[in-house]
Symmetry: C2
Amino acid sequence: GDAAAGKAKAAVCAACHGSNGKAQIPTYPNLAGQNEQYLVVALKAYRAKERSGGQAAIMQGQAAALSDTDIANLAAYYSGMK
Amino acid sequence: GDAAAGKAKAAVCAACHGSNGKAQIPTYPNLAGQNEQYLVVALKAYRAKERSGGQAAIMQGQAAALSDTDIANLAAYYSGMK
């Protein structure tokens, strides 16, 4: 993935997951430094509605707007963050 | 949660997520330093089978064996790890 393109796409993510990849909300995950391939798996699982319950509906909606390329780019961006 | 009790319960977790909370498998998440409350949410979602697809069945099985107290203790353990 292209981390610079991911950053450009990440403004909406930052509202909950922090501009530094540290979640602002304790029930939400930090993303900074997370495994790149796991981030791809997780985003695709939300997009496929394989994650539900709790606040998962928010991520289902967000991920629905993402292409495979967007997901790869976002994963590169957050995994590379310290 | 009680981090020491969590550590005692975490031997099986370490096989995939690392004894240092850094996953040995790139498609699996690091847990070290993750938000405690998020870890509780995620484990309960797996236990409730609200996460499926891919390798989620592995975590459904693992989480099925955990009580609410176990989950709280594991979350305390991994969230406190650097």
